[in-house]
Symmetry: C2
């Protein structure tokens, strides 16, 4: 026990310290309350179609700050890393330029910059239609709604547009962001893309408005992270427009979607994305069936949503919020995987990487076989093989490449559904092997016995040259476009945004 | 409230009923105590090498009763279901007879009955060595120990034996059971097979006695449910004996084990299980790498043991015991899967069946390609192709069939490690496809262009005839053997067992 005069002083000082810290604590609690109130309140001020993410950001600083973390990622050139891919897409845009994706915030910038969209001028339009914009910006549903306000089919009008994608360059300005997935008044998750509403109905028979909140936490992503194609042969107002369709009429596997595409095209005998420049095969381009693979794999089967792993909860002040730094869950294992899986971080990371590595090896096998099959088909044509002799071979090539492409084109398929991807690659390898076996017989029939010698395609530059691409010209056109056309778009957009502030 | 005279009576009767039920409950508790005491006490009476399961059963009735549930399962004929398999094993025992396995209790009976072990007589020995007995009976480690007691290498002596398997027929009588995995004195799990002790050391560098109890709950199974081969080229006392080896010197994947086998054989240029009767390829037979696949898959990675799913806990009286009805966990989903996985039974069953079905399709693809490759090799030989021209082709065939066989030969691989099995089948398909492509070129070089026509192998009988097997003679020999030789073995064994009772 403390006794006497000095004991009293000690007690007094001790009490002072305690009271001081209690004051600090009370202050912290009050601050948190204030933040919480701000976060709940600021859902005002946003008009019905405010598409500027920075304006939403004033109301939702935590979400916006995490969204900004996607900024500044480097471009990674897939064709440089793997020149075989250049050959596989010969005759199609992806042979010109194919980078790894790098976050929502770069969506508009990257569409402008990729060589796939060409270097249009007023005289020479680009090769790509307006439909390409669909997944790049909240300005897209804004425009669709504006067009629909005139009593028209807004989506069809948008896809038709004035022709090529550059006709909408000054309108589509703000990269993928807030208004793509949120109702500005209630902040509820919202579907803004017609293609998903229609695809969901075709797939499930249900109206998407009946989806639960947990389903919506994946469905908002499924507006873009899905397989799709452009269909010019739809009836009614859609006829002639490159209408965005999710090919889900038979289901969501690669086989199901191939069946859908096989039944399309102007004559119902098959859709065509392009004719392969080397083998003259009618090809399908797989896009990014992320939502589909997720459903087929263990996480989807358990109802773990996209947001559960890609937008983990964080907290600041008294408020829990969802990170909008949409990225690999491996970047935040403690907030993502470890919410359910109690193993050490390194063990979890290794389990993912091992799956991916084992599948990557199969991917490379399929690519090698397909590249050879394309060139062997060309050799057979040069030996005099007819289209009739090559018909079955080209079908095998199309189906093999569809499966390969389907398995690599989405984010993280080899993690989302490793078994399904491995199975798919096995079929890809099987079909490419069968095409090559048939080719060797056709070649022998036409007097060629032995191995077809491939040209040197050991670098992207060499491969592009082999398939007749002029990289210098493509780059020069693009630079001219970026210097002359794009600044005008931005000026025009700045004026429009200015007018919104009034 | 109850009032007056009748109220008192009701209360009295009510009390009587309560007391009666309390008596019943007390009785039940006491009975359970008694059972528990019996179960803990009866670990006496078993000698050091009591191999009769029924004698152990007197001491451990619950375990023995569940063990007996394995009795009476039907034989399922794989060759009848899938005649392609007959061709794949042409020149080897598995083309004669190949049934689905049906439980520990049938082990000795099925070895006697399968056509693979032939119908030996005193004059005409069978084709199979003593080593074949190794996994069939607790009489095997008993005999090894007896042989070792004479100062020799018990295992080598056993494998050499008097020559062929039938020389030990009267000794190996009791099917796989108690003494294979348990110490008769302490009931602790026990490793009784030399091959695992040696394989474990080669694989991990550790002494198997250091394994934990949870590891032992899988390792006792790994005494038999693993990949193995017979090596006649080992140094020392092992030389010349078909010594049982687990090929784990490089690891436990199919690729690792192929590497092990590639480095074996008398000249170190490759082990040989047999020469394929159709294509003359040096072949490896995969056995049943169950423990290996389990480790590579999600359950093994999490440390869930074989016994956790295949020998679930049950309870009787006051005692919890492990079921010894070793079977598919799908037979008792409530006691197996649902201990961890909280989904409905049908959902869990479907998840397993879907995995298996998707992989089964790839299996069939690999089989079809391999059957064609064997016959096309034969055709190339008939056209005059040399061994040098066929060397790479035969390597591809061996490696393809090894991967196919490895993926189908163990129990439930497509559940234990679906991704690894799918990957493996993709490689099998790739290699078989490459072999066929090379073959078409060799055939063309020798003047044959077009498709090699396969003989009719649409039934097991037709397929066996094509590869030169005389099914009638095999069956007649077997019947003669079962009628004349086997009864003598049983008589001899009965006398020995009688002597143990004294």
């Amino acid at each position: 026990m403390i006794k006497g005069k000095s004991g009293g002083w000690i007690l007094f000082l001790f009490t002072l310290v305690i009271v001081f810290f209690m004051g600090l604590l009370a202050n912290s609690i009050m601050e948190r309350r204030t933040e919480a109130v701000i976060m709940r309140k600021a859902i005002v001020d946003l008009g019905e179609w405010e598409t500027r993410n920075e304006v939403w950001g004033e109301a939702y600083p935590e979400q916006y700050e995490t969204y900004l973390k996607m900024e500044g990622a480097d471009l990674e050139d897939i064709l440089e890393e793997n020149p075989n891919v250049t050959i596989l897409f010969a005759g199609y845009g992806f042979a010109k330029d194919y980078n790894k994706p790098r976050g929502h915030i770069h969506a508009v910038e990257d569409v402008r910059k990729t060589l796939r969209t060409g270097g249009p001028t007023t005289e020479n339009p680009s090769p790509m239609p307006n439909t390409c914009w669909t997944c790049k910006s909240p300005d897209v549903p804004r425009m669709m709604e504006e067009l629909a306000a005139g009593g028209k089919d807004g989506a069809s009008e948008f896809y038709k547009g004035g022709g090529k994608w550059e006709t909408l360059g000054s309108q589509i300005i703000n990269p993928i962001g807030c208004a793509d997935c949120h109702d500005p008044e209630t902040m509820a998750l919202k579907i803004t893309r017609t293609a998903l509403i229609e695809g969901y109905k075709a797939l499930t028979g249900n109206d998407i408005t009946e989806a639960t909140h947990q389903e919506m936490r994946s469905l908002v992503c499924a507006q873009c992270h899905v397989e799709y194609y452009f269909d010019k042969n739809l009836e009614g107002t859609k006829k002639g427009a490159p209408y965005l369709v999710f090919p889900w009429s038979h289901g969501i596997t690669a086989e199901d979607m191939q069946k859908h595409l096989d039944e399309r095209g102007p004559d119902g005998k098959g859709h065509k994305d392009w004719i392969h420049a080397v083998s003259k095969t009618r090809m399908y381009k797989a896009q990014h069936p992320g939502w589909e693979f997720w459903q087929l794999g263990p996480h989807g089967m358990q109802g773990v949503s996209c947001a559960d792993c890609h937008m983990p909860y964080e907290s600041r002040g008294g408020m829990k919020y969802s990170s909008h730094h949409v990225t690999s869950p491996l970047d935040y294992i403690d907030k993502t995987c470890q919410v359910c899986h109690r193993q050490p971080e390194e063990e979890l990371r290794k389990a993912v990487k091992d799956r991916q590595a084992s599948i990557k090896k199969l991917t490379v096998k399929a690519e090698e076989l397909l590249v050879k099959a394309h060139f062997e088909t060309k050799a057979a044509m040069e030996q005099g093989a007819t289209d009739a002799e090559l018909e079955n071979i080209r079908t095998l090539i199309r189906e093999s490449q569809w499966r390969w492409d389907f398995s690599v084109a989405s984010h993280g398929a080899s993690f989302h559904a490793p078994l399904q991807v491995s199975n798919l690659l096995a079929y890809s390898i099987d079909k490419a092997g069968k095409a090559r076996l048939e080719l060797s017989k056709v070649l022998a029939k036409h007097g060629f016995i032995g191995d077809v010698i491939l040209p040197d395609i050991s670098t992207k530059a060499k491969a592009q040259k082999v398939i007749g691409l002029n990289a210098e010209k493509m780059k020069a056109d693009k630079e001219h476009f970026l210097k002359n056309m794009v600044p005008k778009w931005d000026e025009e957009a700045a004026k429009r945004h200015e007018s919104w502030n009034k």
